[in-house]
Structures are given as structure tokens and as C-alpha cells.
Symmetry: C2
Subunit: 459 residues, 2 copies
């Protein structure tokens, strides 16, 4: 499909006058849940060694202490804070999912604007509106090229995320349509991130860099740094160069009327969304039959959607990061430990002898008749029985969304070990009250226990 | 073509013990010429508004004053200095060209390592060896995917350049093969830059970001930030995702024996290499017949290689940057002013009435029988004569390389207006003596007139 002025018309929509109150209530509410879930994930991933190593590399080069790294004691310059927040919020593969594109929407966008909010103050309503705008742009651009673009090998959270960050920060900076179009162009020409990186530290680097690069695209455009204003649709622009599918109606159709940002979902398990059904089903069987039965498993057969083996077919993961890409490990850990949380995907778990032994008994086959949120499980037990389970819709899918209570439990389990119970409770409270805050950056500052930051500063 | 361990074997070569003296003398000599030409271009572009706007955008966020921006008074953190040097050295489209791929090799690589040299001191011999290694990696990766990759719409100086910067900085940091492979992987997953950006400020942003991102890839790998070690050849790695051609023999074949870095060429004119034949031919006719004859031109007909109209077919350029992508403007300016230097591609020139009038009389047709360094020119004069010229090999091509004297003249014409005549002479002297320097960073510091920096510091 060809279309003219896609970038320009999208920029005009981004830059148009719009209040949070103009958005449908359900979209606003999902925006708050998106932010809440993102924040918990960013705190939860804050102490991951991926973040430690990134900080070690950038530390000699960072600028003024302008913005918090959520859950950590460092304060960095704004773009570097965005980079780190993007890494930490995605590193546990526990964040959110736009199921139509497998984009993890909040990482690139929230990471960018929370860092900006500490530098250019903004109230919670404008902050939330920018978050929703950025996610809307990101998911619509993703829709326009999915699935061809993803199938080719692009990590769409990075490639589409940079547009979302650019759009949201452009909105916070109040850029006009011309400069917003430049920001989208500067974002487009940095769109990157290869799926080959799954299972390495570079996976979470993608939303981090998307946040940082999208943010700088907006600041560059603000300073008059120009770009093409046809960066999305031009013959040698984003959509044609990075995809064989270009459906621009997905970008412009119903803009401001139907909202992709209202379709966000939140992961119950700390791994790729495609193995959620397998974990869910294995945990159901374990809950039903008892943990002791699971010690006597002789064979596990999974029939799965074809993407499962394509994305998570690692048979012998050696690290925690790699284990997220092993449906065999995930099923074994769900059966034996009932665990799908971050503790299921550590280096310890990847190498635990009892899990290694069980995962080698797990076989998976692709079946095009199985939907992405389904799985069929057959388990042979050593006592001769065979048990089965068919999961129709996995928990965390659009049909079985996490409730606010489940989001709170997920947040607390991630955040309490990092910043403690009382600061976690305060932080959750602030996040739910986002639209009442006169200064959205309050959330960023509250994500670090006051004592911890003071201690770090005194070092 | 499929191949295993491409990234790993390339990394092993990059990390292997190697002295400058192990390289063929002609390659070393071309390396010095490459550095010399790059340096003159970086000084020449230092005052361009593209650089001013980039500096304005990044200024609030920059880190310690670690490294010079060549030709400018700012000192920035190392990665931001690399970004700026990459922008300034390419912004006039006057730099160097690896003719087999149209990569401009020095921008991403020299910009990165000169910034690093001010932070981690290195002598001139090791510096030159790293420069040549980086360019070798960049051009070989370019060869492996060219022309399909370029034809799809990728600006190959950005996409391949990030590997060159990563390789060269890995070498300066002394990374082992494992970490060098990670650096290549971190580079691969940031490989980007769209041809749609030609004619905008984002074009020179590409080598700048490639320098900065490649540099940080090496520092991240040094800090243990891991990546895939099959980033180039994996099914969802660089070559398969960004190209339909993958010829890995171009990367690994004759590594250390035949040298792409010895094939560099230097532009005599400040625009895309493809319109050099037209400018050369028009200048030849003007020199031969006299400037007054050129005032009486009624029609100009060019037969050109097909890439000329594809890349430089803008009929009504409005800015200096756009005018570089107009063969019509370039021919008019060469005929009327005899100019192909940066002054031919300013906003003034793009809008000068006499040039606008003449460029509208220029017609160009594509002819597949015309080689990339050729052009056939026919000019109708108002006195009824028709004059013709066939350029067999344009100046600056591999068959008519710029001499050292021509490089000196080109350097001086760019540098003297920016930093003055005496500092220019000193700077050129230092650059020629690169391999004698105990501290390569001396060149960076000498690129700014001492008085200018002191004055800036006192502000």
C-alpha cells in the first residue's frame, strides 16, 4: 500500500492540542496500569548485572546528575538515565506486551519521559498523556509492518520503540508538527535491533537505546536539526527498507478514535510471552496434582504455536538470560518449582541438576492449529499414568488480564527485595496517583530508598 | 553463501597481535593519506550549522571535557566528541570513498579513535594501525552485502561504519577475541541509517552516530556487556536481516593479505562521488574555452551512469545540503563558476539566480554503458556551436587519484578559513608525521587554534 504524507500527518496528530481528558477513560486507566507495571519491572531489574555492566561502561562519560535510574542510586544525565531505565525494565522479560505485534510498549517510552520529567518538570496528567501518545505511535507503526518486519529478524520493541520515545518526548517538549516530523525522521534513521540478540544482554539494550535515541531525536529536532519529513513512507524510508509489508492505514486509520494503547497486557511470567501458555498449563497441573507428583515425570510433550520453537527452542540454556528462550526449561521449572517469576530464570535455575534432568524429558512440536495463547500438554508419569491439559487462553492474555491486585503483587515481589517494603508501598501509591501529581518526576525520585541514595552520595 | 563463525573469526583477526610494520608499505601510506584527508574535512566542516545544532542539542547532557571536537572550541566527553567529529568530517560530502561500496570509510573510524586517543593515550603507530584495521573491517563487511544492501536503501557508511568504529576501538582498548566479538555484536544490533536522509542533516549524523555507537560497543564489551558472537552471519543477524546478498568470503578471504584499506580515494569535489565526472568534465570545458563562453550556454545534455539520476536527481534544490543531490546544480556551478568545492554547495549557491537559470537548461539521461567514473557532455552555445567532452576517468577516481600536493591544497582551502593559516600548516605537518608521534592525541589538540580555545574557556 502506498500513501503520501504519512509521517507528516502522524506528526500533526502528535503535535495537536490534546488533554488527557480527551482520551477515553478505559485508555487512560490502561495507561496508568502500563506505567505501574513498567515501574515495578524497572525497580525489579535495577540490580541485574546487565545494568551494572552498562553503568560501568558509561560511567566515565556521563554528564550532569539530572535524572534517576529507577531503583538504583546513580543519578545520570537525562539520555543515559533513559538508556538504563529501558534496560532494567526489560531485562527480566517481565514487562508488558502489545499482543498484535509482540512489542513491549512501555520500555522505550516510559524510560524516556520519566528521565525528561526530572529535567523539564511536567504534571502527572500531561505525563500520562505523553506516555499514551508515544505508545500509540509505537504500536501503530508496529502494526503497519508486522509480521513481515518481525519475521525478517527485527526486534520490533527496538525498531518501533524509538518512534514511540521520539513522539512522547516531542509532546513533552511541545514541539510543533514540523519539528515533530523531524524527530520521527531522526528516530527512523536510528531504528535498529536484531532478534539474534535474544538471550544476550543486548536484548534489553534495545528498548534502552530506543528510549535514549528517541529522546535525543526530539531534543535534536527542538534545536533545529532537520531530517526528512517522509521518513516512514519514502521509497528508501523506514517501512520500505525494514519491511516487505507497509500498511499505512494501520498508522493513520482512526487516529485518536481507536487506541492501540488500550490493548496493553502485562506478563505474569518473566519470559517471552509465547511460552506463557506452557508455564500456565504446567503450573495448573502441578497445583492440581501436587508437587510430589511432579517429581515422578518421565516425559512431557507440548504441542505449541510455531513461534514457540522458533523463539524459545534452546535445548541447553547455560545462563539465566538464555533460559528465557527455552520452552523446555520453562516447562520443567513450572512443573518442579511452580515458578515462572524472575527466580525461574537465573543462572542457578538454568544449571540446577534436577531442572536440567527434567527439561531433557520435555519435547515440543509445532502445530499451526494451536493459537499463540494456547498449549496442549501431555505428561507421562513414572507410575504409568498420562495426564493432559489444554490451555485455551493463558493467564496474562487479553482474555485473562492481570487484575490490579495481581499487578500489585507482581510489583511488590519485584520491588521489595531491591528497595524494601515501605519504599515499595510508597512508590506503588505514587504510581497509582500519577494523574494527581503536580510533578511526575516525584515517582522517579521515590523509586530509590532515600537512605540508599544518601549513602551512595556520601561514598 | 553460508559460512560459520564469520564474526568469531573476524574478531580473532582484529584481536591478533599485529604491528604497523606488519602491514604493506602502500597500505600504511594510504592510511596516512586517509587520516590527513579526514582531518582536513573535519576542520572544514567544523563551523557548519549542522554541527552547531547538534552541539546545542547535546550540550545540556555532555559529560567531562575529555576530547576535542576537531576544529571547534568545545571539549566534550569521548563518545560525544566522536559523534561531532563524524558529523563535521562528512557534512560537506568532501571526505573519502571506498569506490567498490561507496562507503566513506574514515568518518566512523577516525572520529571514534581520535576521541579515544585523548582519553587513553596511544602512539601514532598504534593509532594508524587501529585506523587501518577499522577501515578494513568496515569495507569488508560492506563488500559482503553490497550492492543489494545499498540498493535496498541503507546508507552503508552508517551501517558498515559502526563495525569499523567498534573494531578500531576494540583494538585500541586491547580487547581479546571474545570481547571483540561482543563489540561487533553490539555494533551489529545498532547498524542503521536510511538513504532517505540524503539532503538533510541526518546524512552526516550517520557516520557520527556510527562512530559514537561503535565506540561505545567496544567500551560496553570491555565492561563485560555481552552479545551474540554470530551477529554478522546468524539467520537473524546483520547480513541476513539487512541484505539479500551475503558473501562472507568478502569478509574472511585473504584477511591480512589483501587490503581494502589500501583502495581509499579522496574527493576533489564536495558532493557525492557519482557527480564527480560531470563536474570534472564541465570544469575541463570551462578551463579550455574560457569563463565568458560559459555565460552563453543554451542547453547542457549529460549522459550518465544510472546511479547519478537515482542519487542526485533533485531538479530544484533549495538548500546547500540539497544542492549536493542535484547533478543539474553541480553542472551549472562547474560551468559558470568553475567550482566544485564546499562554496559550490551553499544555500547562496543553491538559490543564486544565474545558477538556477542555468541548471534548468541541464538535462541528464541514464546510460548503462557509462561507467561510474565517466560522463558524456554535450553543450549547445547561444552562438550556435555545440561542444562535447567525454570523461574517461574522473579526477579522484582510482585511476586519477589526488596527489599529496592536491590533498594539501584541499586541506588548506578547508582549514584556513576555520582555524587560520599558521595553525593549518602546523596541523598538516603533525598529520603527515602521525607515525612519529608518541601521543596521537596531539593532532586533536592542535586542530583548534590555541587562542580560540583559551578565549572560549574564558567565556
Amino acid at each position: 500500500m502506498t500513501e503520501t504524507h504519512v509521517t507528516q500527518r502522524l506528526a500533526e496528530w502528535i503535535a495537536a492540542p490534546r488533554d488527557l481528558a480527551d482520551l477515553p477513560p478505559a485508555v487512560r486507566e490502561e495507561g496508568v496500569r502500563t506505567f505501574f507495571n513498567w515501574l515495578g519491572c524497572a525497580v525489579g531489574g535495577a540490580t541485574h548485572e546487565t545494568a551494572d555492566r552498562a553503568v560501568a561502561a558509561i560511567r566515565p562519560f556521563v554528564g550532569p546528575a539530572q535524572a534517576s535510574v529507577v531503583g538504583r542510586t546513580e543519578r545520570l544525565d537525562v539520555p543515559h538515565a533513559a538508556l538504563l531505565n529501558g534496560i532494567t525494565s526489560h531485562v527480566l522479560d517481565y514487562d508488558d506486551t502489545h499482543l498484535k505485534t509482540i512489542i513491549h510498549p512501555a520500555g522505550p517510552v516510559a524510560s524516556a519521559i520519566l528521565a525528561v520529567a526530572e529535567y523539564r518538570p511536567v504534571d502527572g496528567k500531561r505525563f500520562l498523556e505523553a506516555l499514551i501518545t508515544g505508545i500509540e505511535v509505537e504500536c501503530r507503526i508496529g502494526n503497519s509492518v508486522y509480521p513481515d518486519h518481525y519475521d525478517r529478524g527485527w526486534h520490533i520493541t527496538g525498531t518501533a520503540g524509538v518512534f514511540g520515545a521520539a513522539a512522547a518526548v516531542s509532546r513533552l517538549l511541545g514541539l510543533d508538527a514540523q519539528r515533530t516530523a523531524w524527530a520521527l525522521g531522526i528516530a527512523a534513521t536510528q531504528s535498529s535491533g536484531l532478534r539474534e540478540m535474544f538471550g544476550t544482554m543486548c536484548k534489553s539494550f534495545h528498548p534502552g537505546r530506543a528510549a535514549q535515541n528517541g529522546l535525543m531525536a526530539a531534543f535534536l529536532a527542538e534545536a533545529g536539526f532537520d531530517s526528512s519529513t517522509r521518513a516512514i513512507e519514502a521509497p528508501r524510508g523506514f517501512a520500505n527498507v525494514l519491511s516487505t509489508k507497509q500498511d499505512y492505514s494501520q498508522i493513520l486509520g482512526g487516529l485518536g478514535e481507536t487506541w492501540e494503547a488500550g490493548l496493553n497486557s502485562y506478563k505474569p511470567f518473566a519470559c517471552g510471552i509465547v511460552i506463557h501458555p506452557a508455564i500456565d498449563g504446567c503450573r495448573q497441573l502441578r497445583d492440581e496434582l501436587g508437587a510430589d507428583v511432579m517429581a515422578g515425570v518421565s516425559a512431557v510433550r507440548l504441542r505449541t504455536h510455531p513461534l514457540v520453537l522458533e523463539l524459545t527452542g534452546k535445548t541447553e540454556p547455560k545462563t539465566g538470560l538464555e533460559s528465557k528462550f527455552s520452552v523446555f526449561h520453562a516447562a520443567a521449572c513450572a512443573l518442579l518449582r511452580g515458578d515462572g517469576s524472575p527466580t525461574a530464570f537465573t543462572d542457578e535455575a538454568a544449571n540446577a541438576p534436577e531442572l536440567v534432568a527434567l527439561r531433557r524429558k520435555v519435547k515440543a512440536t509445532s502445530d499451526a492449529a494451536i493459537h499463540e495463547d494456547q498449549v496442549a500438554i501431555e505428561i507421562d508419569l513414572t507410575d504409568g499414568r498420562t495426564i493432559t491439559r489444554f490451555v485455551e487462553h493463558a493467564i496474562g492474555s487479553i482474555h485473562r488480564p492481570l487484575s490490579n491486585e495481581q499487578l500489585i503483587e507482581k510489583f511488590a515481589r519485584q520491588s521489595e527485595p531491591v528497595i524494601g517494603a515501605a519504599p515499595t508501598a510508597d512508590l506503588m501509591d505514587l504510581a497509582w496517583r500519577l494523574t494527581d501529581l503536580s510533578d511526575a518526576a516525584e515517582v522517579a525520585r521515590a523509586s530509590v530508598a532515600a537512605g540508599a541514595r544518601a549513602a551512595a552520595a556520601a561514598e
